[in-house]
């Protein structure tokens, strides 16, 4: 990378392990340099909320999202997908790369990929009926809704007869893509409109803005 920002990056890396220069991250994602800088402001707040080590722990992740410690299967699964290096913590590069998938401009293919991994809780490469049942029960419990087992089973029957084309009791990657193309509303959770206005939500006055001016 360019020599004029290497010392600054080295300094930031000592404070924030895994830090990548905003220009590097902007080139790999749908974010502009200023947007990555804004995400860094957000990252600094979240990663410092419990232990100021420049990394986001599971607890800090939950606090940021739910304003309380929320140990639940969805929260845990999302954390695992952000934690690509499987170290139990999320660094700045992980954070930006993961949020990138939720950017409105990112191709649907990436969103479909992420959502498939999200629902494939045990990483078998298939979304099994028992996993969907588990997630459905979690949703009902969270919403304070109680449905009979009969009703739950009928919802699952309907879903699987629709999505599980080869009727093998599980949904594979191709079946998921097909199902999503027929039910595009399923991808609503994979886009965060907030990411388009992030520079106004988190204005940053970091020295890097000078670099930005030269480049743009």
């Amino acid at each position: 990378m360019g020599c004029f920002h290497s010392t600054a990056t080295a300094r930031a890396r000592r404070r924030y392990p895994g830090y990548d220069h905003p220009m590097q991250l902007a080139s790999q994602t749908a974010f502009s340099v200023s947007e990555v800088e804004a995400l860094f402001e957000l990252f600094k707040t979240i990663s410092g909320s419990v232990v100021d080590d420049g990394l986001i722990s599971k607890e800090e992740f939950q606090l940021a999202l739910f304003k309380s410690k929320m140990d639940n299967i969805f929260a845990n699964r999302i954390f695992d997908l952000f934690d690509v290096k499987k170290r139990g913590v999320i660094d700045f590069a992980d954070f930006v790369q993961a949020l990138n998938v939720f950017h409105p401009s990112v191709p649907m293919e990436e969103k479909i990929d992420f959502s498939f991994k999200l629902y494939d809780m045990d990483n078998t490469g298939f979304i099994e009926r028992k996993e969907v049942k588990q997630m459905l029960i979690a949703l009902l419990s969270e919403s304070g809704m109680r449905l009979s087992d009969e009703t739950i089973e009928s919802i699952l029957d309907k879903t699987f007869s629709d999505a599980d084309v080869n009727q093998d009791g599980k949904i594979d990657r191709a079946e998921w893509e097909n199902f999503v193309s027929r039910n595009p509303s399923l991808m609503k959770i994979m886009t965060l409109p907030y990411l388009k206005d992030i520079t106004t939500t988190f204005p940053s006055f970091v020295f890097n803005s000078k670099v930005d001016d030269i480049v743009t």
């Binding site: 940021a64 309380s68 809704m145 449905l147 965060l192």
Partner: protein, 175 residues
């Protein structure tokens, strides 16, 4: 500081009803699948990173046995009972509350809520109430009232009610 008790504070409540109309012949298609339900989870909503309030201040849902038309009628009558004035315009329900009191420090308040009804089966629906902006406590009050009045627990309690049970017994034994 002088409190002006004669000034009317207007809080506008905009209620938008979204109903999924059955455009297709097969009614089963309009019924929610498991993933649509799962996707409603607040724990899959990353907007928490960008919002100060907890997601429960922005999204609420409850199950109901009542059909969509009845639900919308009851939501409308409930907001009227809460002291809001109702204006219907272009399929949207606009509700205005006028109250006399000390001037709201934030000035002219505006509360925007959308009510959406989803079908699970012919006798089971999910109502989702989302607040886009405005007073949280007013929103929570409205959600509590509506879920008490229209939610599934209410209909189950009615069945437990003795007089209704006797009525059903008499009805059944006449066959």
């Amino acid at each position: 500081m002088v409190l002006n008790f004669n000034r009317v504070t207007k809080t506008e409540l905009h209620l938008v009803f979204l109903k999924h109309d059955g455009i297709q012949d097969n009614p089963a298609i309009n019924q929610m699948n498991a993933f649509q339900l799962i996707g409603m989870s607040s724990c899959l909503d990353l907007s928490g990173f960008f919002e100060k309030e907890d997601v429960s201040e922005r999204k609420t849902r409850f199950a109901s046995n009542y059909p969509p038309t009845y639900l919308f009628e009851k939501i409308e009558s409930n907001v009227i009972n809460m002291g809001f004035q109702v204006q219907k315009n272009n399929g949207k329900l606009k509700v205005i509350q006028e109250r006399k009191g000390p001037t709201n420090p934030r000035g002219h308040g505006s509360l925007l809520i959308s009510a959406e009804v989803f079908e699970i089966n012919e006798s089971l629906y999910v109502v989702e109430l989302k607040r886009s902006c405005g007073d949280c406590s007013l929103y929570r009050q409205l959600c509590a009232t509506l879920s008490d009045d229209l939610g599934i627990c209410k209909s189950q309690q009615l069945l437990k009610n003795d007089s209704i049970r006797q009525e059903l017994y008499r009805f059944n034994s006449s066959f």
